[in-house]
């Protein structure tokens, strides 16, 4: 999931480059052409440039759509879309042409969001509005250019704008509005990342809702003083910040991706154009009311250069104040850019050259002009140096000696930290890692010199780094995480041989179970592949077709290309099915890659080893590094980079300079919470552990255990008796009343025996409240059978206990206490809570469980609080097919939860906070634009109901690490540590919270992103509420990494996906039966 998100994000970045050459190998390897890299290799023409081009097929007027947005901010960015709009031409002329952009359709399709034509969208830029949220800011900063060239095209809307709400901006502010109005275009409809109709020097702002607290749109008008900073660059005002605020403040999202209609009134507000520099004048025209709407649209291309400097955007308001300030280190290393700017050019070949390889070749011949430092994708060129505004070069097409004119036109001046530059900075970074002798595997780099060999297990642990350059609130950073790769000395064939010897009859089944889903690395390159299937019918003697059409056998292919002799001719083949992606020219790669078991090495920890505690200790010793080690490794890398001349010069080509020091900044530790039990309450200790209190004091509520049954095999009868006695001994202090159970001794420990006796017991005695099973050993099949019986067939809370855990008399007491607490939760008892001042609040946790072998469906666990103490939980599960949207099931669950809440409280919740786990960065937009509107729609089904909603995405698997810092020493931060600036995302209100206490390893915080917030929750509210929620997981008397509802949802989804394979019975939905 994360992976997909990542590649999506890359694709998006590149798409933003116009015809970005996009290929995402492994999600990351963007083959963005830094020309210095793969150069002119004729065998491997760089792919890409596609998106723009193959859209042509679908739509007759591609230029239109694009051009419409173009004049608004960068008239010269036609980027091969064909039609160029003269800048003196008003937007209007364009907009009137009626088959208006269908291009959005094309784009959307490429991404899987296909907006129906009947519901077109107008996209306003993320770049549009300026937000001076903090009036304190000395210079309201010249945010100028958007980072993305319009991704979304304005569509057209036959409706008139419903309302024009307040116009904050003074003067002729509404000119744009009226223009749009006249056109019947609803500009405010989509808040995508599109381009907005603002000219340079002009500031336009489109607001989505009147209720917004957005301030000072007009303030933007004050800016022009800064203009001299960039003499020829005009400055226009915009703020990507706007989107964030919009998101945060407005209850009615106008949704960009198409299919969703806006839910509330949308009103545009336009600020007056401000002439900034002399060159700007034609643009001011643009917004001026006097512009003739009837002006014809010339199809020519006025080569007017509209160059803008992109600058940083106004940060969002996300900094909280509660808690004690502390010094916090993080695995972010500041990067300083020495270049003043990066220059973006558009390159056109006349006559047009289709072959990307040829385009590169011709560009390469002009190194004397462009310099050696080039990032080129076939049509967009980035240079660290400035050329003339338009440069014409000549080249000769070698095939027919045709003279080609290459026009290089300056389109943008980017600040060196621009998002557009990040992809090729990352390419540079990868080269640097290579120069340092690190090996690229998957996406991370590993060090062959630091390999730890665990001979006993025939595996090697490779230490390495996962690195990326990010642009966060604090600027440009190199984010380095320590990563370890476990490689095995065994090839897949070796392991197959072992399996064959062990289980001949079920050989194929065992192999499928063992290998499908595993990642292998091939012998002849460093590529990794996930095994999706095994092709038993084929062998290396079979043939396949090479790219050039020749047919060869696998044996011959490997002999010829790699000098490898295949020893085993009768092995099956492994199948890898790459994710669908399009190659240049719209050719979609599907199909399968066949691999030879003999040439594939296994990676990752063997399943057998995972279960072996001692073996895992050998391994984790090397993998779990503490903060000290972590920072040392990190510093070592920095030293290696800074000590390597070649690496430095590689970075220096783009003016990058990586600091030697790890980022140290100020974070906060949130105040300790008070845990409330039945009568006792106490403030948590520094170690946030209340395991003592929880067994000493009475739980909030308990369920008397009158009728329950214990099932155990004969050989466990002593332990069973012992356990029951201990239960009754420890139950008192916790306030639990417990009677003697029905004891059922089984003659053996076969699954069948268990199931039969439980079933007959439950039938004969329907009052049974609880089933306790004592099992010998770790037996998944037995566990699964018991849970299926007790969660689906005859719904009753059940507790499975491994005989081994209760076999040690000295530990029995504390184990019995814990089991009893767990049983109490399962029966519907409540253990403890913390006080949350919000009334009529519902907190929801959502997590998705994916099966490793990807074949089966994924499972969504949904848990919602039912009372104000947050001690009653309603839980549901839905199964979804691969690629099915999670939201379908979500709506059902949400409505059921609201219904249940009403039954309990006789009212609906006023505020709903959703913690959604399992969303990667790349999917945030999807959540915002698709899921949230669906959630809001859900509320509409209830009459007169408009709850406030906060939707918070929870990310656990992130590369950010926090260290405490003091006395020049890095350690692990204490629980409750929060960091909400510098390393945070520029586009969202987000924060990092480390709620749990760390026993071993590093401080891995959880990342929370408030994607939507109409509940008026301030950053402080969000942070504290989240921290409080981390206290409420009853299976652990302490804080955990994620809010309890998320953890519950995770538990539930895991149980359902892994063992039940079906939805649990609805009768159990109000109990935490899944703990």
């Amino acid at each position: 999931m994360e992976e997909g998100g990542k590649s999506l994000r890359f694709a998006r970045i590149l798409r933003a480059l116009g015809e970005g050459a996009v290929e995402s190998l492994d999600g990351v390897t963007v083959q963005f052409f830094v020309a210095t890299e793969e150069g002119m290799d004729p065998k491997q023409p760089p792919l890409g440039r596609a998106r723009g081009f193959f859209m042509h097929k679908d739509e007759p007027h591609p230029g239109r759509g694009r051009a419409f947005a173009v004049p608004t901010e960068m008239p010269s960015v036609q980027f091969g879309r064909g039609i160029l709009l003269p800048m003196s031409e008003p937007v209007v002329g364009m907009a009137r042409k009626v088959p208006l952009p269908v291009e959005e359709g094309g784009l959307g399709r490429a991404r899987g969001f296909l907006p129906p034509i009947s519901e077109p969208t107008v996209s306003m830029g993320r770049g549009t509005a300026v937000l001076t949220e903090r009036p304190v800011d000395p210079v309201p900063a010249l945010s100028v250019e958007k980072t993305d060239i319009q991704e979304k095209m304005p569509g057209w809307e036959p409706k008139m704008l419903p309302t024009i709400a307040k116009v904050d901006a003074p003067g002729t502010g509404s000119s744009l509005v009226s223009m749009f109005r006249g056109l019947g275009i609803e500009p405010g409809k989509t808040w995508g990342r599109g381009a907005a109709p603002i000219g340079r020097g002009a500031m336009g702002d489109f607001k989505a809702d009147v209720q917004s607290k957005m301030t000072t749109v007009g303030a933007a008008a004050l800016i022009p003083e800064r203009e001299q900073a960039h003499i020829e660059e005009s400055i226009s005002f915009l703020g990507r910040g706007f989107v964030g605020v919009d998101r945060a403040v407005f209850p009615h999202m106008s949704v960009g991706r198409g299919p969703i209609a806006p839910l509330g009134p949308v009103s545009p507000i336009a600020a007056p154009p401000i002439p900034v520099s002399p060159i700007a004048s034609p643009l001011t025209l643009l917004a001026a009311p006097s512009v003739s709407e009837d002006a014809p649209v010339p199809q020519g291309t006025p080569p007017k250069v509209e160059v803008k400097m992109e600058t940083l955007k106004e940060p969002l308001k996300k900094i909280g104040t509660k808690g004690n300030p502390i010094s916090i280190g993080s695995n972010y290393i500041p990067i300083c850019c020495k270049n003043e700017a990066v220059f973006q050019y558009h390159v056109t070949y006349t006559p047009n050259i289709e072959s990307i390889g040829m385009r590169f070749g011709m560009m390469k011949e002009h190194r004397p002009t462009t310099g050696e430092v080039v990032a080129f994708d076939g049509s967009i060129l980035y240079l660290p140096k400035r050329l003339d505004e338009v440069v014409h070069l000549k080249a000769e097409r070698k095939t027919d000696n045709l003279e080609i004119d290459i026009k290089i036109q300056l389109t943008k001046i980017l600040p060196p930290s621009s998002d557009l530059c990040i992809p090729f900075y990352n390419v540079v970074l990868r080269r640097v890692m290579k120069i340092l002798g690190l090996k690229l595997v998957g996406r991370n780099h590993y060090d062959p010199n630091g390999v730890v060999i665990l001979g006993k297990h025939r595996l090697q642990v490779w230490p390495g780094y996962s690195t990326s350059i990010k642009h966060t609130d604090g600027g440009l950073y190199l984010v380095v995480d320590i990563s370890h790769k476990v490689l095995r000395n065994d090839s897949v064939l070796d392991i197959m041989n072992v399996i064959y010897q062990e289980s001949r009859e079920s050989f194929q089944d065992v192999c499928t179970k063992e290998f499908v889903g595993a990642i292998v690395i091939t012998r002849y390159n460093n590529r990794t592949y996930r095994i999706d299937d095994i092709e038993w019918a084929k062998s290396p003697k079979d043939t396949f077709t090479l790219a050039d059409g020749t047919v060869t056998t696998f044996v011959e292919y490997y002999r010829k290309n790699y000098g490898i002799t295949i020893k085993e001719l009768d092995q099956p083949l492994l199948i890898h099915r790459p994710k669908e992606r399009s190659k240049p020219g719209g050719k979609v790669i599907t199909g399968e890659i066949l691999l030879l078991p003999e040439l594939s090495f296994m990676t990752g920890i063997p399943e057998k080893m995972r279960k072996d505690f001692r073996a895992m200790k050998d391994l984790t010793m090397h993998i779990n590094v503490g903060a000290e080690q972590h920072t040392q490794n990190l510093k070592q890398l920095l030293q290696n980079i800074n000590g390597n001349e070649e690496a430095l010069s590689e970075l220096g080509r783009w003016g990058l300079n990586i600091s030697q020091e790890i980022l140290v900044t100020q974070g906060r530790t949130l105040p300790n919470e008070t845990i409330c039990m039945h009568s006792a309450s106490f403030v948590t200790s520094q170690s946030v552990d209340w395991s003592r209190e929880v067994v000493r004091d009475t739980s909030i509520s308990t369920v008397p255990l009158n009728c329950w049954a214990v099932f155990y095999p004969r050989r466990a009868s002593d332990q069973a008796e012992e356990l029951v006695t201990t239960f009754s001994r420890v139950a008192g202090p916790m306030g639990i009343r417990i009677d003697r159970p029905i004891r059922v001794e089984l003659r053996d420990d076969r699954t069948e025996t268990f199931v039969k006796s439980i079933h007959s017991q439950l039938t004969s005695e329907p009052r049974v409240q609880l089933v306790v099973c004592i099992m010998t050993g770790n037996r998944d099949d037995l566990y699964s059978a018991i849970k299926k019986l007790c969660c689906i067939q005859s719904p009753v809370p059940s507790q499975a206990i491994n005989l081994r855990t209760i076999s040690q008399p000295q530990k029995l007491r504390s184990i019995a206490q814990k089991i009893l607490l767990q049983i109490n939760c399962k029966l519907g008892g409540e253990l403890w809570t913390v006080s949350v001042p919000l009334k009529y609040l519902m907190v929801i946790g959502v997590d998705v469980h994916h099966d490793t072998c990807k074949k089966s469906r994924s499972v969504m666990g949904f848990v919602a609080s039912l009372n104000s103490m947050l001690t009653k939980w309603y839980s549901r599960v839905t199964f979804q097919m691969p690629h099915e949207e999670i939201i379908n099931g979500f709506r059902v669950c949400l409505l059921a939860a609201l219904q249940k809440y009403y039954e309990v409280n006789h009212t609906f919740p006023e505020k709903i906070v959703i913690y959604r786990d399992g969303v990667s960065d790349g999917q945030l937009k999807t959540v915002e634009l698709y899921e949230i509107p669906q959630v809001l729609k859900c509320f509409e089904t209830i009459p007169n109901y408009e709850p406030k909603l906060a939707f918070i995405v929870v990310q656990k698997r992130i590369s950010t690490t926090l260290y405490s810092y003091g006395a020049n020493h890095f350690g692990t931060p204490s629980p409750g540590t929060i960091l909400d600036h510098t390393v945070t995302n520029r586009e969202w209100v987000d924060f990092y919270l480390m709620a749990h206490s760390i026993r071993q390893g590093c401080g891995l915080p959880t990342h929370y992103i408030a994607v939507y917030n109409t509940a008026n929750l301030t950053p402080d509210h969000l942070q504290r509420l989240t921290f409080k929620m981390c206290h409420l997981y009853w299976n652990w008397p302490g804080t955990i990494r994620v809010p309890a509802p998320c953890k519950y949802a995770h538990k539930l989804a895991f149980l359902s996906g892994q063992y039940l394979h079906s939805e649990p019975a609805i009768q159990l939905s109000e109990k935490l039966f899944f703990l």
Binding site: G39, D41, K434, I453, G455, K456, N489, D548, N561, G563
Partner: protein, 361 residues
């Protein structure tokens, strides 16, 4: 230098040239190979896979930038570390010119100059001959160059095949130069090529003509004198990497010990399993001895098949139990050698009476 002309050959001509060298290497198995004008290191990359006993692989090019760009592709793969090869391999890249005398280029078995000489000025070709054949005096030289007679068959070609070509020779010209070289420096040459024309065009010869030179063995093998040794190096070393191989004693030792330990661990697990099965029937014996041991059994061939056993809390694995492992066998030829190797190691301790306690667990 191969990308400009689109030739109608399949596989592409440059691949055919590489294949020619690979085939040569397979037949004659040179140990030290140097490639002049290696540029993007395409040939070196191929030879790295098709080693056939090559131990030293050197690339030389005058273009520093292109070497720097491509050198990483010659680095060992992950799998080279996972399964070290038997023979050693060192790859070196130098920035330098084929017209300079570089002492470390002497003593090679094979020198390849694929599509190189046509990039030299004619005057430099003379010094090239002198340096390569006279000074370096390798066992064999493969020189390939375009055959000018073929040019009319190449579609759309005017002038030379590449703008950097200083000349393109006909077969006669090439052969004349080759014979002169042979005479002067004591080589014999055979001519061949890759890329044949079809039909009646056949008689224009190969698209790329190749001369394979072999030094005449006249007993007058040059020897490195002291003066030569002290000659200053003129090339600049840009990249050097030694591939992990079992030839390296450390790696060999490590690999062997790992195999032995793995085998021992495996046997220990088996033993524990069987013990547990027994104990289930009798009494509780959850005690897992934490020590394990490799014992080496009776001397020489008198193999006493002693099973794994437990003594004073430690589990002992007799060495002969390990010996059957095919991997261990492949690494050391004899049980005797295995014992000797293990005696030196710190992780496996052979005990005094023929059993051993492992030092590290």
């Amino acid at each position: 230098m191969t990308h400009i002309i689109t030739t109608p050959f399949s596989p592409p001509l440059y691949i055919q040239r590489y294949q020619f060298v690979i085939d040569y290497v397979r037949t004659y198995r040179p140990r030290k190979v140097i490639d002049f004008g290696c540029a993007e290191c395409g040939l070196l990359k191929k030879l790295k896979f098709h080693r056939n006993g090559i131990q030293t692989l050197v690339g030389v090019d005058i273009d520093r930038a292109v070497l720097l760009k491509r050198m990483c592709t010659l680095a060992p793969l992950m799998s080279d570390y996972l399964q070290p090869s038997d023979g050693p391999l060192t790859v070196e890249l130098y920035e330098g010119s084929v017209t300079e005398r570089e002492p470390c280029t002497r003593g090679f078995d094979l020198v390849t100059c694929v599509e190189l000489i046509e990039h030299l000025e004619l005057g430099d070709v003379e010094s090239f001959s002198e340096v390569v054949f006279g000074y370096m005096a390798p066992g064999a030289v493969i020189v390939s160059t375009p055959n000018a007679e073929f040019n009319p068959l190449l579609p759309g070609l005017r002038g030379f095949r590449n703008h950097d070509h200083k000349f393109e020779w006909s077969r006669a010209e090439f052969q004349a130069w080759a014979h002169r070289v042979c005479e002067e420096y004591g080589y014999s040459v055979q001519f061949t090529g890759v890329g044949e024309a079809l039909g009646h065009w056949r008689d224009v010869g190969f698209c790329t003509q190749i001369g394979v030179f072999k030094r005449n063995f006249d007993g007058l093998n040059w020897s490195m004198t002291n003066t030569e040794r002290s000659e200053p190096s003129v090339y600049r070393l840009l990249y050097k990497v030694a591939y992990p191989s079992l030839y390296d004693n450390n790696i060999y030792q490590k690999t062997l010990v790992n195999e032995v330990l793995y085998e021992a661990e495996h046997l220990r697990q088996e033993w524990l399993k069987s013990e547990n099965k027994d104990s289930n029937n009798n009494s509780h014996r959850y005690y897992h001895p934490s020590m394990e041991t490799v014992q080496y059994g009776a001397e020489g061939g008198a193999v006493v098949w002693q099973p794994v056993y437990q003594k004073s809390g430690a589990i002992f694995v007799p060495l002969p139990c390990i010996w059957p492992s095919p991997r261990v066998r492949a690494l050391c030829g004899t049980a005797q050698q295995l014992r000797e190797e293990l005696l030196e190691d710190t992780q496996v301790r052979l005990s005094a009476d023929g059993t051993v306690n492992p030092a590290s667990q």
